[in-house]
């Protein structure tokens, strides 16, 4: 059985890396959040028209340029602090900071990577707040267990939903989506335009994603599954530019490997 301590440290360091990259990007993107810029809060605060006056004032203050900058710098420090180890303070700060940032980007900035970041931080919250109820070991196991279950669900649903799609089963969806990718379109002579190759690739992804429960065969199988997952996420980055997906999912791998050998 993998060491719980090792799993925790790997989880914290990989999560730190993911959060650091995200926060540096958010700091850079402050330029498009200035008044009169595309993502100006002046326009976007209309999303909170339903909220009470005090709530709207709170968010006006939170998203003012100077406070937002301080918030992001604090988040950067808290993320870097995870390399030395997490605490109930850093876990709580990063969790609520992420919620605040996502509301600033109308609920999600980068889709799936936002979901996975929230899941990892929820796992961290469970691990720290849970220690006021149960032992630290049990609290960390619960936190990593939550991350493991959600990560497995992400792969399983992503694969199964394609299984129900005729276009994915016959291979026509793959080149269609790759053409729409940020680094697209595919070259006219790309091998992925070949129907046989596209169909085989599609089925490969679908079966691999749906087979995520096999990690419970043991830590060795889980490590192999995670290695393939890393290649998969790098391919997604290479076609769709989704760099945050790579780091957000990689941060969850220690939880998968730990739980693969923990029962």
């Amino acid at each position: 059985m993998p060491s719980l301590y090792l799993a925790i440290r790997c989880f914290e360091c990989l999560l730190a890396t993911s959060l650091l990259f995200q926060t540096l990007e958010f700091l850079k993107l402050r330029s498009v959040q200035q008044p009169n810029a595309l993502w100006s809060w002046t326009t976007q605060r209309g999303d909170l028209a339903h909220a009470s006056v005090p709530v709207r004032k709170l968010f006006d203050w939170l998203y003012s340029d100077s406070v937002h900058r301080i918030h992001l710098l604090l988040r950067l420090a808290a993320a870097a602090g995870l390399y030395a180890g997490s605490s109930i303070v850093s876990a709580t700060l990063l969790f609520f900071s992420t919620i605040a940032i996502l509301i600033r980007w109308r609920g999600a900035f980068n889709g799936g990577s936002d979901f996975m970041t929230i899941i990892a931080l929820t796992g961290l919250m469970i691990a720290h707040w849970g220690q006021s109820i149960v032992s630290p070991v049990l609290a960390w196991q619960a936190g990593l267990g939550y991350v493991c279950l959600q990560t497995m669900t992400s792969y399983f649903i992503s694969g199964a939903i394609k299984l129900f799609s005729k276009e994915w089963r016959n291979g026509s969806a793959l080149p269609y989506f790759l053409d729409g990718g940020i680094y697209g379109p595919l070259a006219a002579d790309s091998v992925l335009r070949n129907r046989v190759v596209a169909t085989a690739s599609s089925w490969g992804f679908i079966l691999w994603e749906c087979s995520v429960p096999v990690i419970f065969l043991g830590p060795g199988v889980a490590i192999a599954y995670c290695a393939i997952a890393l290649v998969f996420h790098c391919l997604v980055f290479a076609f769709f530019g989704l760099n945050r997906f790579v780091w957000a999912w990689v941060a969850s791998f220690p939880a998968l490997v730990y739980w693969a050998g923990a029962w």
Binding site: S158, A160, A173
Partner: protein
């Protein structure tokens, strides 16, 4: 061991069932802003129409340019794996167009699309695209304040897979705006 295996199998059977039998979707302003807590993991499953933003500008001689489609495109760089703010912003901007398309489909009666936050943001996006592209030819470049006295327009088309965009796909066209 047997109990654990049974529980794992039951969980994934439940997940599979939830894909087939989808319940009522919960919606609301706070649900929308906090939707990252409720991931659906349905990546690239929809082979349906894609909302696309188009812009055009009137040149000094009164002619309208061709509609230009906004399509997030970039050149792959290994550095992007670690730091990719510009391209992630392009994708977030395309999401604005997707949300506007959804908002219009669910717009209550007697409500104007122009009141939507997503409409106002897409209008800003369209204007910023015109600024970046310097559309309008000689003398028609939009300055940094967005003002050059020219008139411009944007529209959103629902483009079905593998089809060339045409006028019949338009479901939103802005009035003529002054740059």
């Amino acid at each position: 061991m047997t109990l654990t295996l049974t529980l794992i199998a039951a969980y994934f059977a439940f997940v599979l069932g939830s894909i087939v039998l989808r319940g009522r979707e919960v919606s609301g302003p706070w649900w929308y802003l906090l939707r990252s807590f409720f991931p659906n993991w349905r990546f690239y499953h929809g082979f349906g129409s894609q909302p696309r933003l188009f812009t055009r500008i009137q040149t000094p001689d009164g002619e309208w340019t061709e509609w230009q489609m906004f399509m997030p495109r970039a050149k792959l760089s290994p550095r992007d794996l670690f730091y990719n703010p510009h391209n992630n912003l392009l994708l977030a901007n395309q999401n604005l167009v997707d949300h506007l398309a959804f908002d219009i489909q669910t717009l209550p009666d007697n409500t104007s699309a122009t009141e939507l936050v997503s409409y106002q943001m897409v209008m800003r996006l369209a204007r910023s695209l015109l600024q970046q592209q310097g559309m309008g030819g000689a003398g028609g470049v939009v300055d940094e304040t967005g003002s050059n006295g020219h008139r411009w327009q944007f529209r959103v088309l629902q483009v079905p897979p593998l089809q060339t965009p045409d006028d019949s796909m338009a479901f939103l066209e802005s009035p003529v705006l002054q740059a």
